[in-house]
């Protein structure tokens, strides 16, 4: 269905493009300049001489690998635990599952920094300090509430007749889950994947407090290396930022369609 173009909306979208784009422009331009040129040109100036040196930082491979490990593991835990939970919340008759759902809704209100002190203690006691597992577990736990919210929203959208039809056929919950719920929640699952990988990829506080050595650094901590006691290597830092966001941007671009479809149900209908 073609409509005539909406000029006001077009204008608004350009204004927003400017707001979003200006810092991104500053970022990209900075990464192609040497520190001295960036300082001389200022953040808004046009670069006079381009260099790619900022992108040739070799120390990042290990951090990159660690971040991938953390992200994949967090997503795996979420995918293992949350879909059955959401299914139970939407379809179970028991009072207990309702309570669990409210517990997760309340969990939305627990900021991770609120529990960081006891978390450090627990992880330390478990012998997981300075170990990627020690980062993965709490990161996954704190990504769960929003994922539960998203997935229950999506699963509510599956019309009861479909469940009915399968139940009449004598299907057990496991079969319903596998053959009906999972396929119909594809979009929601992509949303959950994108959301939880974002959380893990950009996780800051848990790696900061729970890891220490270079072998166990993730990218967000590696970015800290550009900050010294008294200053920041801005072009170097921003180049590392550009590199570190590329994988997630790719995930987004490939999953975009499924993502939006998944979000079609959020908020319930």
């Amino acid at each position: 269905m073609r409509k005539r173009p909406h000029y006001l909306a077009g204008f608004g979208s350009l204004v927003w493009l400017f707001v979003v784009g200006l810092p991104l422009y500053v970022m990209l331009v900075a990464t192609f300049q040497s520190r001295a040129d960036y300082a001389a040109n200022g953040p808004l100036g046009l670069p006079k001489k381009l260099t790619f040196d900022n992108y040739l930082n070799d120390g990042f491979a290990q951090y990159f690998l660690n971040t991938v490990i953390v992200t994949v593991s967090v997503v795996a835990i979420i995918l293992l635990l949350v879909p059955p939970l959401a299914y139970a919340i939407v379809r179970s008759d028991g009072k207990a599952t309702g309570r669990v759902f409210r517990l997760f809704l309340l969990g939305l209100a627990i900021p991770s920094q609120a529990v960081i002190v006891p978390m450090f203690y627990l992880i330390n006691e478990a012998g997981l300090y300075d170990n990627l597992i020690g980062v993965i577990l709490p990161t996954a736990a704190f990504a769960m509430p929003v994922c539960v919210l998203i997935l229950t929203g999506v699963m509510r959208d599956i019309t009861p007749e479909l469940y009915e039809a399968m139940t009449v056929d004598g299907a057990a919950p496991w079969r319903i889950f596998r053959q009906l719920v999972l396929p119909l929640s594809k979009g929601g699952l992509s949303t959950v994947i994108v959301f939880s990988s974002l959380q893990a990829w950009n996780g800051f506080l848990f790696p900061l407090v729970l890891t220490q050595s270079a072998e166990n650094k993730v990218i967000t901590m590696g970015l800290y290396d550009f900050q010294t006691e008294h200053g920041v290597d801005i072009p170097g830092l921003l180049a590392a930022v550009v590199l570190s966001m590329l994988p997630i941007l790719l995930v987004y671009l490939f999953a975009r369609r499924a993502l939006i479809q998944g979000l079609m149900g959020v908020g319930g209908k």
């Binding site: 520190r35 001295a36 050595s213 900050q227 008294h230 200053g231």
Partner: protein, 416 residues
């Protein structure tokens, strides 16, 4: 649960007990490169191997406090002396170094005394200097001064007239990274030292709250107020930071004529504005104050960095051996080559090999002849005081706090 937490806090056992390693925890930055080399040198001859751990950037202090009393405690660690280690001394975690020094007097005598004393707590030495000293200096843009027809001020009165001249010419007289707060603090440190001498602040740190309300204290605050009201810092300094390059840029581009900053300003500017450093960067000491009680040769800043040793270490002999390296020729040469200035007695031998010989020599002589070296306030007080201290300093500068309110805020700081 309370019990298990207590166990957490109380267990002072060193990391991986029983193994033949010592863990050396340092602030993560560019200096780590030469520290790694030093550790490798040490490991070639030592049976007990040293492991270098780093904590990156700004969160060093927070992180240190969370690990130091637990299973992950290092054997020795980087610090700033003074209040930065006081809580650990109070908690009985640190080893006084008297025994080390008795066995090997070089651990004390090979360092400049004003520096070594910064890590003396309750009369006992708790730190051996490492890395270098970082006095705060008054940097200037010579070209900007020339254009305005002024020179670097030697006295406070000259500073005030210079400020007025510069302001009339449309130049911001002094660049200030107020957003970081600690650069603002540098002005307090020097003016208090010049007016009242180092004793006033020492008493304050020791818990004497009355000194803040003394005549000298009020005089120092009055002088600062006069400088601020004269427009010395412009109006938007609280939106400028040193750490993101904002205030050095003001100085280098001539939009501002002066900046009071730690000696690291030189290397910061060298990275970003090599041409400016070559031709137009000036540096000197803080102006003298007529009739002030403090010696004009007194310095303020980061006296030095130190290694302190945990009581729980299982290899004190190895630690003592490691500390010996802190005055070795190799150490001094390495540090100088990357722009740090060690305060060992053998440093002058190698100053020619430093990254900037003239600048290093200038600083070394200053530190050597300084009767007192005021440790930065936020490091002299225990970490618990930092937030309140910084807030009050910022609020005094921007006018939210008057003299009396500032004095009251200082008196409410948690005592050391």
């Amino acid at each position: 649960m309370a019990l298990s937490l207590a166990a957490c806090g109380g267990s002072a056992a060193s990391s991986d007990g029983g193994s033949d390693t010592i863990h050396v925890l340092v602030y993560g930055d560019a200096t780590n490169k030469v520290e790694k080399q030093l550790v490798d040198t040490f490991n070639k001859t030592s049976k007990v191997k040293a492991v270098l751990d780093t904590i990156p950037g700004a969160d060093y202090q927070s992180k240190l406090q969370t690990v130091i009393s637990g299973k992950q405690a290092p054997d020795l660690f980087f610090n700033w002396g003074g209040g930065s280690i006081k809580p650990y001394v109070d908690a009985g975690l640190l080893m006084p170094l008297d025994d080390f020094i008795a066995k090997n007097p070089d651990l004390k005598s090979n360092f400049l005394p004003s520096v070594f004393n910064t890590a003396v707590v309750d009369g006992k030495p708790y730190g051996v200097p490492m890395r270098g000293t970082q006095p705060v200096l008054l940097f200037s843009n010579k070209k900007a001064l020339q254009k305005a027809g002024v020179t670097a001020p030697r006295t406070w009165a000259e500073l005030l007239t210079t400020v007025k001249t510069l302001k009339a010419k449309g130049v911001t007289p002094i660049a200030l990274g107020g957003g970081d707060k600690w650069p603002t603090q540098m002005w307090f440190q020097y003016i208090y030292d010049r007016v009242a001498g180092p004793e006033l602040f020492q008493k304050a740190v020791d818990g004497d709250k009355q000194v803040w309300a003394s005549e000298d204290s009020k005089k120092a605050l009055g002088m600062l107020k006069e400088l601020i009201d004269a427009g010395a810092f412009g109006t938007n300094y609280d939106s400028v930071k040193f750490t993101d390059g904002g205030s050095p840029a003001l100085l280098a581009t001539g939009k501002a004529a002066f900046e009071l900053m730690g000696s690291w300003e030189y290397s910061t500017l060298q990275d970003a504005y090599p041409d400016f450093v070559k031709s137009d960067l000036g540096y000197g000491t803080f102006p003298t104050v007529e009739g002030g009680k403090g010696d004009p040769d007194n310095l303020a800043g980061n006296t030095n960095n130190f290694y302190s040793v945990l009581k729980s270490t299982e290899h004190p002999e190895a630690v003592a051996e490691f500390l010996k390296l802190m005055y070795s020729d190799q150490f001094v040469k390495d540090q100088l080559s990357i722009g740090n200035l060690p305060t060992t007695t053998n440093t002058p031998k190698f100053l020619d090999g430093s990254a900037n010989p003239a600048y290093s020599t200038f600083q070394y002589d200053l530190v050597k002849k300084a009767p007192a070296f005021q440790l930065s306030w936020d490091q002299a007080f225990p970490p618990a005081a930092t937030t309140t201290l910084h807030q009050a300093i910022q609020q005094f500068f921007n006018g939210q706090m008057g003299t009396d309110a500032f004095i009251a805020a200082m008196q409410n700081l948690p005592a050391a």
